[in-house]
């Protein structure tokens, strides 16, 4: 066992982790630990853009961005945190540009922006250009740029180290335990401050846009250490995933004029969101697709619809909508322009579907996409240990694994890339500042015991069960019963199934008994995390007897502000039982009202 000591430890090297590491390392001895090489992190998969009211080509204001985010969250987002994020957004995006990020440009040479779902001009209600983009690989550019800055600033990395436990002493963060994947050796990292930035957990669902690495490690680890998880019932289904594969087709396609068409050739979003149509919020569109399919309007009677970005379709509907360019000229596109703005999307469709989006519509279905819930924090990344906002000294979280909450019940597109740069930075700053006035906490006598026990279990199982089967069964039931539409009966079924799978999981025995790159063992541990989070998600969802944002119940179809304008806090107690408590939503300027697009 090797031990290391750092003032600040960042777990995760995606956008949130790198931003935290960059800022913390300016004043504190810092290391970033990541199970993947930093540039493999899922931030690199983000396509469409990062939101900020720069107003490059038309009028926009941080207050509009704030209101849109509050509305998009179905009023579950905490308004103080949302306002903070949207105010910080403008400087944060300029800072990325100063770090060299190659944004696309307007004809005047400014950062180019495109419309995105739910982002509007608050006066006219029409879509506003707020998503700052670099083609359809904005996340790739953010990840690369931040990693490049870390190299420039000599930030210390432990690449391909899997963090498997959080150490706490006297109620304060004391460090983490990690496995060096290349050797199988356990390392103990002692620290004054620990920042979790481990990303999401979309691998719980069958059809997903999420990477294999999205196994919710951070949330699962903290739950095991008695820290609650907030709003886990809210998980976003993105309306446009590639049929069957779930690979994401960015909302930027609709920002560039693409429209959704059902099996009858109708532009169905007119029915569901008369003002912004195809640029409504994601939850609204995913439900619309589901209902179209249910009413027999899928393509060829199947469970998919078309996303159409062929120039003739775009131009036809843009003319009907009276859509104009910022200079007042009519909105007209060519195939070449589409290709230059969405090169990766065109490539994905050609490779995986054999479809050319310039000449053919793309078959799409909703795909599991984003965790609104996670480790509860305030706007400085400080982790809350209860519903009374009590802080755990030295523990921080940022990015998709955290719940600030700025996304509430439904995240707006472009707000996650914003979340990771704003809250990554502030978590880094706070953690460094905290570490200056704090001492190292003593490590427990046998710091790796808890982690060791979990891993040894996988070598001792009786082998009656296969981990791959268990994963498949979890994904299927979660997609069927804990997806876009939910009901008490379905969720109960999912809960029973997940509990059965958790029992069966105890019989899994990994085949690989070696030390070096034992991915068999690590993947088994990750599956355990997914199962834990699937259970917490389902229990949190069953309790919430209303529909709000991404949580949509057929048996409770309306939002219930009287009883449910509150955040769920879920704990797993020593016996494995899940306990729920609630915290009121912070409302500053915007009183909840009906949400119409």
């Amino acid at each position: 066992m090797k031990t290391h000591q750092f003032e600040v430890l960042v777990v995760g090297a995606g956008g949130a982790g790198l931003m935290a590491g960059l800022y913390a390392s300016r004043t504190a001895k810092t290391a970033i630990i990541s199970k993947l090489y930093p540039t493999r992190s899922h931030t690199g998969a983000a396509q469409g853009g990062v939101g900020a009211a720069l107003g490059s080509s038309e009028e926009d204001h941080p207050e509009w961005h704030t209101y849109d985010t509050v509305k998009g969250s179905d009023y579950l987002g905490d308004q103080d945190a949302i306002e903070f994020m949207c105010e910080e957004a403008v400087a944060a995006v300029y800072e990325l540009e100063h770090m060299g990020l190659p944004f696309d440009r307007t004809p005047e040479g400014k950062i180019s922006q495109r419309p995105f779902g739910g982002h509007t001009n608050n006066v006219t209600g029409k879509p506003v250009m707020r998503a700052c983009h670099a083609a359809d690989r904005t996340g790739h550019m953010i990840l690369q740029t931040l990693y490049q800055q870390c190299i420039k600033n000599n930030v210390t990395f432990f690449d391909e180290y899997q963090v498997v436990d959080l150490l706490m002493t006297n109620g304060k963060a004391a460090g983490v335990v990690a496995i060096e994947i290349a050797t199988g050796e356990m390392h103990v990292f002692q620290a004054k401050a620990v920042i979790f930035a481990t990303g999401g957990h979309g691998r719980i669902w069958e059809i997903t846009s999420n990477a294999y690495a999205y196994t919710g490690d951070g949330v699962a680890i903290t739950l095991r250490r008695g820290i609650p998880a907030e709003d886990m019932e809210f998980f976003q289904f993105h309306p446009t995933g590639i049929y069957k594969l779930g690979i994401l087709i960015t909302e930027g396609v609709r920002g560039e004029g693409g429209i959704l068409i059902n099996g009858k050739g109708e532009r169905f979003m007119e029915k569901y969101a008369p003002t912004v149509k195809d640029l409504a919020s994601r939850d609204v569109i995913s439900r619309a697709i589901y209902m179209e399919v249910r009413d027999g309007n899928g393509v060829n009677g199947k469970n998919y619809v078309y996303l159409d970005v062929r120039p003739e379709s775009v131009n036809h509907y843009a003319a009907l909508d009276g859509r104009k360019r910022p200079d007042g000229s009519p909105f007209v596109v060519t195939g070449e322009e589409i290709l230059s703005k969405l090169p990766d999307i065109v490539d994905f469709c050609r490779v995986y579907l054999g479809v050319d989006p310039i000449t053919q519509p793309m078959p799409i279905q909703p795909t599991a996409h984003y965790a609104m819930g996670g480790i509860p924090t305030n706007q400085f990344g400080e982790v809350k240990k209860d519903e009374n906002k009590t802080i755990i000294p030295g523990l921080y979280a940022a990015g998709e694994c955290a719940c600030v909450s700025v996304h509430g019940a439904n995240r707006l597109g472009t707000n996650s890339l914003l979340d990771i740069i704003v809250f990554g930075k502030h978590a880094g700053l706070r953690a460094a500042e905290f570490s200056k006035g704090a001492d190292f906490q003593p490590l427990p006598a046998d710091p790796t015991a808890f982690a060791q026990a979990q891993f040894e279990g996988f070598l001792k199982g009786d082998g009656r069960e296969n981990a791959f089967d268990i994963a498949m069964e979890m994904k299927k039931v979660m997609f069927d019963d804990m997806g876009i539409f939910r009901s008490g009966k379905g969720m109960q079924n999912a809960l029973e199934k997940v509990r059965e799978l958790k029992e069966r999981f105890k019989h899994v025995r990994v085949q690989d008994t070696g030390k070096i790159f034992n991915m068999d063992l690590i993947n088994a541990w990750e599956l355990g995390n997914l199962l834990d989070l699937a259970e917490v998600t389902t229990v949190s969802a069953l309790a919430r007897t209303e529909s709000r944002g991404g949580h949509s119940r057929e048996d409770y179809p309306s939002r219930d502000d009287q009883n449910w304008l509150k955040h769920t806090f879920a704990w797993v107690n020593e016996t494995g039982k899940i306990e729920l408590k609630y915290q009121p939503v912070t409302i500053t300027k915007y009183q909840p009202k009906a949400r119409v697009y």
Partner: protein
């Protein structure tokens, strides 16, 4: 369809030398080779080890040799290869286990080319302006995902991993031709060193191997030209 997949296997804790294992699988023609590897791992042999994450060609984890050419397993579909598929680790980097190679020499080379934005002028309050033409100048080389498919297809890199290799040069190009950057002279000096661009003999393997379709040989050519003419035009 039935697919026979032959996989390079090496476990340093057990094997004296590498060998191949063959597995029969039922597959869809549109399955990814990565899906096959997952199935082998899930049902046939849990000890099979490889890296992967995004599963759609953007994270750069799973470059491997598939029927002899460098591909991302997640972007290689069964119907492109037929019923017999051979999967091996990329060449020129030490094999650690099965399909996993030691990426450190590759990242070391990346770090040598000053792969970060250099501009010491005080930043303006808003963005630094850049024309669409200037932005377009280096667009192609911003696509690199550091998967190493290009570098490990290059005979010069096989001859010596001290050679910076195509990927590192691509990343140097990304900054050399960025009108906002001021580090071109320093980087060109590195490009001119003995293990720099002169080792490129325009074999074109790299360009064919790139899963992002970056025109790598062209980019290297532009760096060579900048060295010869002393101009970035």
């Amino acid at each position: 369809m039935q697919v026979t997949i032959k996989v390079f296997r090496y476990n340093p804790e057990k094997d004296k030398k590498p060998h191949y294992e063959t597995y029969q699988l039922e597959a869809d023609p549109t399955d990814r080779v990565l899906d096959l590897l997952e199935k082998v791992k899930g049902y046939k042999d849990g000890t099979l080890s490889f890296r992967r994450s995004c599963a759609h060609g953007v994270c750069g984890s799973d470059a491997m040799r598939i029927n002899g050419s460098n591909k991302l397993a997640c972007k290689a579909l069964v119907h492109d290869f037929g019923a017999k598929i051979t999967v091996e680790p990329i060449l020129g980097l030490r094999v650690i286990k099965d399909l996993i190679v030691d990426m450190e020499p590759f990242f070391d080379n990346f770090r040598k080319v000053l792969p970060y934005f250099i501009n010491d002028d005080p930043a303006p309050e808003k963005e630094r302006y850049q024309s669409q033409e200037d932005r377009e100048r280096f667009d192609d080389t911003t696509k690199c995902i550091l998967c190493a498919a290009c570098t490990t297809s290059c005979p010069s890199f096989w001859a010596s991993d001290e050679y910076l290799g195509p990927s590192a040069i691509v990343n140097a190009h990304r900054f050399i031709f960025d009108s906002r950057d001021q580090g071109a002279a320093q980087r060109l000096k590195i490009m001119n060193e003995i293990m720099g661009v002169s080792r490129c003999h325009t074999v074109f393997n790299c360009t064919l191997a790139c899963p992002r379709e970056i025109q790598i040989t062209k980019a290297i050519g532009e760096v060579k030209k900048a060295l010869m003419t002393g101009s970035l035009e």
